[in-house]
């Protein structure tokens, strides 16, 4: 059956310095359909939708809406054209009521008592779409799923015919997710088109009519959901590229380096981020944690390194219990941390390379004698580290932020690994780095492994995980859904686990 395309994104290309986020992507959406946009992090889904919503302008390509090419210059523009978006981080005024939030900036509201004016319509829409929420309630008192309903109402009130939802179930419980799907089905019936960004296969199968899979900025395929299955989708999502495994000696498994038992913790928003995670890393092995970002990996690393409280569970570093101890104590127990946010957390940008290199150990001799620092000792150490770790910098006095990303990372590694720690927790160590820097970082991690440390590698890059790990654990929704030995792991199996299937 030939149905007029409501919306078509044709050959959209969008690049940022150093990366092609969208590479000639074509997406076509019909009225009355729920169209899922599936892919790993970095596949380009959010960028594409940002282009559609007017946040970015494409470098090339066209947006055709209702048969006519248009230029969408801003979210305001998109809204005016009937495109609405429910973002992952809600843009709501918490202190105001639902009605006030919906009425904000809405054309046609009267000058006096604007909130009252929209109340009736909110109730009507609520009935029609199953988006029940109390218009008089202040937003801060609402549950997350109710707040999401407010965002949807905002879009509907402004005449959205196309609704974009960005990972909407990432903040919902399974029951609430079901409620959302019911709403989406109602919207379908009313003739809206829904674009649903996700990485969860279950949801795609449950609610979508068609799905477009993106990988590394390109469209892999667009298929009707009825004519595919999870295996096939997983395969499309992670691809069948040749893996590059680094030559490494077999793991010298010899004693426990890091052990985690039944960890539970909450995210900043108060939702459970870790639900009873347990694993262990032996000395001389690399355990890779695979998974799409947002499934608890960040909170996991924070708990392990002393930057977040665990509500329940234990963490042991080299046999010592370091549960809920400070970052410093964890480090001194022997656990080094390569943080995810290199510049914000890993270095002090305006301080020199040398000072950054002693950030963890400045209070001990030889760097410090009494209250005084010993600059000579610090510079000696710095010079050695710069040579040993091949940090490219004009001098040891250069401010750290002047270094390139790869060299900042090497600086961090030098600092963390120079003490020969027994445990290394590396979070996305090569994100944003070029090939040669990546190789160097990998070599350094392997060297530590060779020397008997246990390495926990958290990464979204399956290639990296497959190349370096001895064993691979997959995280989904705050739990470890499976652990496989590297020899038995393949992309398909991992891909399925990453989207929720137990391995």
């Amino acid at each position: 059956m030939h149905v007029e395309a409501f919306l078509a994104l044709q050959n959209i290309t969008k690049t940022f310095p150093g990366v092609v986020a969208n590479d000639r992507v074509t997406l076509e959406v019909r009225p009355g359909e729920v169209h899922a946009l599936l892919g790993e992090n970095g596949a380009g889904k959010t960028t594409l939708m940002s282009v559609l919503y007017g946040i970015y302008q494409p470098d090339s390509g066209e947006i055709v809406l209702r048969g006519r090419p248009v230029r969408i210059r801003s979210p305001h523009d998109a809204i005016a054209r009937g495109i609405g978006m429910v973002p992952q981080q809600f843009l709501l005024v918490r202190r105001h009521t639902v009605a006030e939030n919906v009425a904000l900036g809405l054309a046609g509201t009267p000058v006096l008592f604007p909130a009252r004016h929209v109340q009736r319509r909110i109730e009507d829409l609520g009935q029609r779409y199953g988006l029940l929420v109390d218009p008089q309630a202040p937003v801060w008192s609402l549950s997350v799923s109710e707040q999401q309903r407010v965002e949807i109402l905002k879009a509907l009130m402004r005449g959205a015919e196309i609704l974009i939802l960005d990972e909407p179930t990432s903040v919902l419980t399974p029951q609430e997710a079901l409620g959302l799907f019911a709403v989406l089905r109602r919207m379908k019936e009313e003739g809206h088109a829904v674009i649903f960004i996700t990485h969860k296969l279950d949801e795609v199968m449950a609610v979508a009519d068609r799905v477009t899979v993106l990988r590394k900025g390109r469209v892999v395929d667009t298929v009707p959901v009825a004519r595919t299955d999870k295996r096939a989708l997983a395969r499309m999502m992670v691809g069948r590229d040749v893996e590059f495994r680094l030559p490494k000696a077999p793991a010298t498994a010899d004693g426990e380096a890091l052990a985690v038992e039944d960890l539970w913790t909450r995210s900043d928003r108060g939702l459970l981020a870790l639900r009873g995670v347990s694993f262990s890393v032996r000395r001389g092995e690399i355990l890779g944690i695979a998974g799409v970002a947002g499934n608890g990996q960040r909170e996991q690393v924070e708990v392990l390194t002393g930057l977040r409280r665990a509500e329940r569970g234990r963490v042991r570093v080299l046999g010592r219990d370091v549960t809920n101890r400070s970052a410093r104590e964890v480090f001194e127990a022997g656990a080094a941390h390569i943080p995810e946010e290199r510049v914000r957390m890993g270095i002090v940008p305006r301080l020199s390379v040398a000072e950054n290199l002693v950030l963890r150990q400045y209070r001990y001799p030889p760097f410090c004698r009494g209250p005084l620092l010993d600059p000579e000792a610090i510079f000696d150490f710095a010079r050695r580290m710069i040579a040993e770790y091949d940090i490219v910098t004009p001098s040891a006095r250069t401010p750290a932020r002047a270094l390139s990303g790869g060299n900042i990372q090497k600086l961090i590694l030098a600092r963390e690994l120079s003490g020969e720690p027994g445990v290394v927790i590396a979070a996305h160590p090569t994100s944003g780095l070029d090939v040669s820097a990546t190789e160097q970082i990998h070599a350094l991690l392997l060297r530590r492994r060779q020397q008997g440390a246990g390495v926990l590698l958290v990464s979204e890059d399956l290639d990296e995980i497959l190349a370096l790990s001895d064993r691979i654990a997959v995280m989904f929704s705050g739990e470890i859904v499976g652990t496989v030995a590297a020899g038995e792991a393949d992309r398909e199996r991992l891909g399925l686990m990453m989207t929720g299937q137990r391995g």
């Binding site: 979210p75 809204i79 843009l91 009425a103 904000l104 000058v111 006096l112």
Partner: protein, 287 residues
């Protein structure tokens, strides 16, 4: 005895009026997300310009009009530096105060000691007008479209921006409005309360006005209570001079402010009720 109380009330109302105008202005500015510590500077500029024009033309109301303009001009400078150039709001306000105090002292030299023949009575229709204004501003803030936009700009500018409303423009308008109000407040001092001009005649009232805005949790009606309370307090410090040294009483509003801030504090945040985006320059890109 009753005369004493009545007197206090009247003079409290009198001094409370300039405080109220300035505080209401600051409430609006801060509600939109911009802290303006330049109230003292804007008030004194208002005091001077009101006096100068009233003296020359014999019309105190015209003086107040000019005062509004002077305050607004100062506020515009602050708005430009903090909204467009995104500089530190606190220091900018301080600079405005320095500038205002210096400029008014400079320009006001030849007006010092001159008498003002046509003045406004201390408590008059103007006072009642001020009260009505406060109610009106309260109504606008909470029950109209514009007020809602102002409040939203101070709470979640990103949300406002996405919906197509120009956050910078809203903030500019709120800050300039605040300046005009502060100017009129200052003008009232020199044209009604103590018809004269002396350099520095605001004596810290501008800072009290800021304190009132916080004390009132940024609510115009509560600001009324605060303004007249502090006004009465100030007056008492003069009245009780024969029994108590004036300075401890004069100190009170400032000590009070600290107490209020401490009492309304909340862990890891600003005072309870503070607009969430207060003091933070809005940069789009940070969605």
């Amino acid at each position: 005895m009753e005369e004493w109380v009545l007197n206090t009330i009247i003079r409290g109302l009198a001094l409370g009026t300039p405080l109220l105008w300035a505080a209401l202005g600051e409430v609006y500015a801060e509600r939109s997300g911009v802290v303006n510590l330049g109230v003292e500077g804007m008030m004194i500029l208002g005091a001077f310009s009101a006096f100068a024009l009233a003296q020359t033309t014999g019309n105190p109301l015209l003086g107040l009009l000019l005062a509004a303009g002077a305050g607004a001009a100062g506020a515009l400078l602050h708005a430009f530096v903090t909204i467009t150039l995104r500089a530190n709001q606190y220091v900018s306000g301080l600079a405005l105060t320095m500038l205002g105090l210096g400029l008014s002292a400079l320009l006001g030299r030849r007006w010092e000691g001159l008498p003002l023949l046509e003045t406004l009575p201390e408590v008059s229709a103007f006072t009642y007008l001020s009260l009505l204004l406060a109610v009106a501003l309260w109504f606008v803030l909470y029950h109209t479209r514009w007020g809602m936009v102002v409040r939203s700009a101070g709470e979640a500018p990103a949300a406002v921006d996405t919906l197509g409303v120009n956050v910078a423009l809203v903030r500019y308008l709120a800050v300039v409005f605040g300046g005009a109000m502060a100017g009129v407040g200052g003008g009232f001092l020199s044209v009604a309360y103590r018809p004269s001009w002396t350099e520095g005649m605001t004596n810290g009232l501008g800072w009290i006005a800021i304190a009132i805005a916080i004390f009132a949790s940024w609510d115009p009606l509560r600001a009324v209570a605060g303004a007249f309370l502090f006004g009465a307090l100030f007056h008492l410090s003069f009245r009780l001079q024969t029994w108590v040294a004036p300075e401890p009483l004069q100190m009170m509003p400032f000590a009070f402010t600290i107490l209020v801030l401490a009492a309304t504090a909340r862990r890891g945040g600003r005072a309870r009720g503070a607009p969430e985006a207060l003091g933070v320059p809005y940069v789009r890109g940070e969605r």
